[in-house]
């Protein structure tokens, strides 16, 4: 196997070449055309992807579906010739949804499993706790977290989030539709920790910029199990109640919200994060009928479902209701897990662009990732097209707003990519490799 040094200075010409290759690779990857690579690679050493999944801990329901999605994408990539003629292999380690274990797993990937890339982490604290080790071990760490931590510039050059949008982008892209269609007087209920604060800060700013008014910001302490004492703080002239509650308390929250409002309620808008992997037909959730949700990707197959979504849904084993084809009660985390699918194709695209041959090429892989600019909607990107800002290692894409009707989610609006754009506040590409 030929390996070339990555420590040599990279000239601008080389970067341009990588960019060109990236675009060409993208065009190839997004087509439905025949495979570029021979199917037989029995003699080739696999490209190893260290998959850091939440098999246990609070993120386990997400982790289960992230793993299924990644496994399906790997199968497709291998069926079609692998990467640079080499098969792809997932090396899965459980991080227990714990940042300490997460950092240990990243060390294990880099030094024991000797994977080419680490990938797949969701929960923000695991990503943030693991990323210093990934950066210092010079292991590309491609996460599917939706947190703003990558785009904020707080991490390092080896951390990417190209397959899913971040919470800041998601939140600000909701504001135009919410204020135009549901109301301009908004009250927010959110968990009183960093994830909730991102919602509070960015949505409030966006609403005020659009001429709306934030009436009340109600923070719920993370240990709270009953919400009745917070609900009277919702002002009576609230037009829109924005909620984002994560964790096992969400069913109680919705039930108590219903008891508080009865039939006389404001418009209600929430983030589906609270109810990923939860069946909307659950009796306690009846109150959600007629309310609205953000979805990263529509859980229920829509009448205008694309061929790409149909293909992706079948490949992962998800039915038209967003549940496992083997068990209708096993509801997926459909709004997020597409990121695992798309990220693997992006890794493939970058590896092909830099002719990746092994860990010695990790630096070239980072530069190839930074040369990517756009991902077209297609089988590899079933959620929709995206633009990639190399400075902040973050993708921007479309979002969906859905209404609950007959315990199903019906898409009522798809945002434009521009709705979620914001000015980059960092530039990872200036950091040393």
């Amino acid at each position: 196997m030929s390996r070339r040094p990555v420590n040599a200075p990279q000239s601008p010409a080389r970067r341009r070449t990588l960019k060109t290759l990236g675009i060409a690779g993208g065009a190839a990857a997004t087509g439905l055309a025949p495979t570029l690579f021979p199917r037989a690679y029995a003699q080739s050493e696999p490209i190893r992807i260290g998959a850091q999944f939440h098999r246990t801990g609070i993120g386990a329901s997400y982790g289960r579906w992230y793993e299924r999605t990644a496994t399906a994408a790997v199968k497709l990539i291998n069926d079609e010739g692998g990467i640079n003629g080499r098969p792809l292999e997932l090396v899965v380690e459980d991080d227990g949804t714990d940042p300490k274990r997460g950092a240990e797993v990243v060390e294990k990937f880099a030094t024991q499993h000797k994977v080419d890339v680490a990938y797949g982490t969701l929960f923000s604290h695991v990503v943030i706790g693991s990323s210093p080790r990934a950066g210092e071990l010079k292991l590309p760490y491609v996460v599917v977290s939706e947190g703003y931590h990558v785009a904020s510039g707080a991490l390092n050059r080896y951390v990417f989030q190209p397959g899913i949008t971040d919470v800041r982008s998601q939140v600000i892209s909701m504001a135009p539709w919410v204020t135009a269609n549901l109301g301009k007087k908004v009250t927010m209920i959110f968990p009183d920790y960093a994830f909730g604060h991102d919602h509070r800060d960015y949505f409030s700013q966006a609403v005020i910029a659009l001429g709306g008014e934030m009436l009340e910001l109600i923070a719920i302490p993370p240990t709270e199990s009953s919400f009745t004492r917070y609900l009277p703080r919702i002002p009576s002239d609230t037009e829109v109640l924005y909620h984002v509650m994560v964790g096992p308390g969400v069913l109680t929250f919705v039930k108590e919200l219903g008891e508080h409002f009865g039939s006389n309620r404001p418009e209600i808008f929430g983030f589906i994060d609270s109810l990923e992997a939860v069946d909307l037909a659950t009796p306690q959730l009846e109150f959600l009928e007629g309310t609205y949700f953000w979805e990263g990707n529509p859980r229920y197959a829509q009448p205008d479902q694309t061929e790409h979504d149909k293909f992706y849904r079948a490949a992962v084993g998800v039915d038209d209701n967003g549940a496992s084809v083997n068990d209708p009660k096993d509801v997926s985390t459909y709004a997020h897990m597409f990121g695992c699918w798309e990220t693997l194709f992006i890794i493939k695209q970058a590896m092909e662009a830099c002719n990746y041959s092994g860990p010695a090429d990790r630096g070239a892989f980072v530069e190839a990732m930074e040369a990517l600019e756009r991902f077209e909607e297609g089988r590899e990107h079933p959620q929709g097209e995206k633009v990639f800002d190399a400075r902040i290692h973050q993708s921007f894409g479309h979002q969906f707003i859905s209404r609950v009707k007959d315990s199903r989610l019906e898409v009522v609006h798809r945002t434009a990519i521009e709705d979620g754009l914001y000015e980059a506040e960092a530039d990872y590409t200036t950091m040393a490799l």
């Binding site: 098999r55 246990t56 940042p99 300490k100 240990e104 604290h125 943030i128 210093p132 009183d192 920790y193």
Partner: protein, 318 residues
């Protein structure tokens, strides 16, 4: 050879072996052992209170967290150099231990467990509540400036695994020396007296509250040193390190290795770390495997591994 000499020889050999390990260990295990050494320091701090003084705390994560946040926040927000941040972390742990001791040591037994658990929970919630400075559950990554420091005319790179390993080993050696000094001295005997029969110790003229307070102070400071070093060496602080799990872990390390032995927590930390590491490769139910192993150990070695060895063969083991 006297018991003291045997003891010094044994613990010197342990430290020498740990020093030598870095030259033969594969890269991953060198990184893993660095973490183990720091967690072992935490467990040794815990053992001082539990193993020697007989006080079972369910809130030691607050001391680990005090060290972690004292060092981490001063490095992150104030730009403090690593040595001063480390010292501040230890001081935070000692101060917290003093304050907690003044309240919690008025209780004993189950009440002490509950009080320490509740105060520790307050500590966890504080890290989440003051998210403007701590970023709560998400945590903070240490700045580039805190990844190296200059001391004794030499620049130490915390990004270098060999440097990290040896600094962790130095911290362990200091903790071990302190524990040996305590275990073999008058203070240690007073602690054991409190553990075995506090009323009788008081009757003999000892101020047992002060003895327990000193033990908690030392235990908190050692635990905080581990937390401060963990933050600075691995460049991350976050609220998860102050949850109940991090109060239970040192208890398990100590029970497994042998409560009331100086080297027991080190052995227990090694075994628990690798048990989880290997079992998680085999099954998702690795915590079940860990639990079963612990139950078996407690059934057959109720005093832990080194405790059993001391009871049967090495009576001089401190």
């Amino acid at each position: 050879m006297g018991d003291g000499a045997k003891s010094l020889l044994l613990h010197g050999a342990i430290l020498l072996s740990l020093f030598g390990l870095q030259f033969v260990l594969p890269e991953y295990h060198q990184l893993a052992v660095t973490r183990i050494l720091l967690l072992a320091v935490f467990a040794m701090g815990y053992n001082l209170l539990f193993g020697y003084t007989g006080l079972l705390s369910l809130g030691h994560a607050m001391f680990f967290g005090a060290g972690m946040y004292g060092a981490g926040l001063s490095a992150y927000h104030l730009g403090w150099a690593v040595p001063s941040a480390m010292l501040l972390g230890v001081a935070c742990g000692a101060l917290l231990a003093l304050l907690v001791g003044l309240v919690a040591l008025r209780t004993t037994g189950v009440a002490f467990m509950i009080v320490t658990l509740m105060i520790s929970q307050v500590g966890y919630l504080a890290t989440v509540y003051f998210t403007t400075w701590t970023r709560g559950d998400e945590g903070l990554v240490m700045p580039e400036a805190a990844r190296s420091f200059t001391l004794f005319g030499h620049t130490w790179l915390l990004t270098d695994p060999v440097t990290r390993y040896n600094l962790a080993l130095i911290l362990l050696a200091i903790a071990m020396a302190v524990l040996l000094w305590v275990a073999r001295g008058r203070f240690g005997r007073a602690l054991v007296a409190v553990r075995e029969n506090e009323d009788r110790t008081r009757m003999l003229g000892y101020h047992t509250f002060v003895i327990k307070l000193k033990a908690l102070l030392l235990s908190g400071a050692v635990s905080a040193a581990a937390g401060a070093a963990y933050a600075l060496m691995f460049a991350y602080i976050g609220s998860s390190f102050t949850t109940i799990q991090y109060s239970i872990d040192p208890l398990l390390y100590t029970l497994l290795g042998g409560a009331g032995t100086v080297a027991g927590p080190v052995l227990g930390t090694f075994l628990m770390f690798y048990l989880v590491d290997y079992a998680s490769e085999l099954t998702n139910a690795y915590l079940l495997v860990t639990g079963i192993v612990l139950v078996v150990l407690v059934l057959f070695f109720p005093r832990g591994i080194l405790g059993a060895i001391r009871e049967r063969w090495l009576r001089w083991l401190p």
